[in-house]
Amino acid sequence: MQKSKNATIAIIFLILGYGLFATFKLIVKYNIAYLYIINPIVWSTLVIVLRVLLGKNTENKRLRKPIIQYTITASLVYIITYMISGLFISFGKNPFATNLKGFIINVWILGVAIVAKEYIRYKLINNVYDKDKTKIAVFISIVYVIIDIEFNRFIGFKLTPLALTKYSFQSVLPSIIKNLLFSYSAIYCSYLPAVIYEITTHFYFWLSPILPNSPWVMTAIIDTIIPFILFLYIRYIKNKLDKFRTKENIINSDPRQIIPLVIVIILAIWFAIGVFPIKPVAIASASMEKELYIGDVAIVKKCSVNDVQVGDIIEYQMDNFTVIHRIMQKSQRKGRIYFITKGDNNKSPDANEVIEDQLIGKVLFRIRYLGYPAIWIHLIEVHEAEIEGIETGK
C-alpha cells in the first residue's frame, strides 16, 4: 500500500476515539469484558490490519544495535533505582498478582496493548514520507498521552489543585517524555526499543513480590528523568552516526554533560523528601518560638533514644503528622524510654508522653524562611484540627 498521510491521520483519530471511549465510564462500566476481551483484541486486530496493509518497513541497521543497548541499560537502571529507593524508604507488598497465573493474565490484559501500541506507532510514523514524519510522530505522541490520562479517575472525585499537580507530575509528564522518546526511536530505528523498555520495566512491576513505597515525587522523578536521559543518548548516537552533522553539533548533544547536574537535582530532591539520615522539616506552627519560627526549616538527624537527652529538640511521630518539641523529661519504665516534651512557646507540656518508638530524630540547626513553599502546599490539604494537634502534641 502506498504511503498516505491522510490515511495515517484517520487511523490516529480512530485510536483517539477508541481510547477516550474506553477511558470514560461507557466502557469502564463493563470493566471485565473491556479488560479481558475488548481491549486486547482491539489492539491485536489493529496490529494485524496494519501489518497486512502496510507490509514491512526498512530499519536503520546502523542505529539499531546501539539504541537497543542504550534502551536495555536504561530499563535496568530504572529497575535498580526503584529497588534502591525502597531500601531508603520502605517496601510494601506488590498489589499485582505476581504468581504465574496473575503474570499471564497481566501480560494478556496489559502487555498486549503495550506492545501493540508501539508497533502501531512505528507503522504509522513510517507510513508517511520523511518530511511529514516528525509531525505524525508528535501527533501520535499527543494522542497516546491523552489515552494514558485516566480521566475516569477524576469522575466523581474532588479535583483539588494539589491532586491535579500530583497527577500531572506523576503520570502526565512521564507519559509525555516516554511518548516523545518512543516516537523518536520509531523515526530513526524501530519499535523494538520502545517494546524492550516498556516490557522490561512493566515486568518488574508484575513480577517483583515487593515494591517500594515511593512518594509521588520520587515516582515522578524516576519515571521522567530516566526516559529523558535515554532520549538524549539516542539523539546523541543518531547525531554521531550522521555524517552530515558537525563535530560541534555532536558535542552539544552529548548527554554526559548534563548527567552530573541531573544527579545533583535528584539527590537534592531525595534529601528534601527525607530519604537520607539527615532531612529537612518545615515548621508549620509557632509552638517552638523563639527557637523555631513558622516557615523555618529544621534540619533533623535521624537517631535513636540513646542519642537524645533533656533539652534537645526532637521530632516525633504522631498519627498523621510529626511534632518538633523540646525534651523536658526522659524516663524509663519496664525497659522502655518515655519523654515528656513541650513547645517552648506553649504554656504546658504536651498532652501525651512520647514513647521511644515515636522518636524520629534530633534537630541540628535551622534555616530561616526556606520552609514556606512546603507549608503553602501542606496547608491546602491539612485540616484545622491537625494544626491544633501539632501545637499541643495531641
Binding site: 469502564v28 520502605s90 507488598k93 506488590n94 491537625e386
Partner: protein
Amino acid sequence: MKKSKKRNYAIIVLIVLLLAMAIGYAVFSSTLTISGTATGSTTWDVRFTNAVLLDASGNADTAHGTVSYTADTVTATGITLSYPGDAVNLRVTITNAGNLPAELTGYTISETNGTNGADITVTPAVAAGTTGEVIAANGTCTQDFVVKWNANSTHDSAVKNFTVTFTYQQKTNEVNIAPAHT
C-alpha cells in the same frame, strides 16, 4: 575498546547487580521492612474516600470524637463513649480509582490508648479477606468498624485514638465471580 563492547559490559554489570539484589531480597526478606501494600505503582489507586462516625441509629455522630482520613489512613481521635457497653460505628469508604479490580486482604488497626483506652475495642464488622471483598475498577466499598466500651469496665470514662489502614491485591478470577462491591 569498541563503544559497542563497553555498552554490552555495562548491561552485563547491571544484570548482575539486579540479580544480586534479587538474591539479597531472598536471603534478607525476613529482615526487610515490608509493610502494607506498596504505593510505588501508578496503575493502582485504591484509597479511602470517606470516613464518618455513626451512632446506633446510623446517623452521623460528632459528639463522641473526630475522624479524618487521607488516601491510605483513617484517623479517629478522642473517641469517648458514654458508658460501659456503649458503642459507635466508624464507617469508611474505600474507592478503587484504578482500572484493575482489587481484593481487600486485611485491615491494620493501630491504637493509642487515652485514659482507660484499653477498655475500648475496635473491630471490623467484617474482616477483610474472609469474604473476598472485591472492589471493581471505579467501584467503592464501605466497611464498618465497631468501637465498643467493654461492658464489664469499672471506669468512669475511657478515651481511644486509633488509625485504620488496609491492604489489597489484584483480583484475577473475577471473570467468573461477581465482585462483592461494584
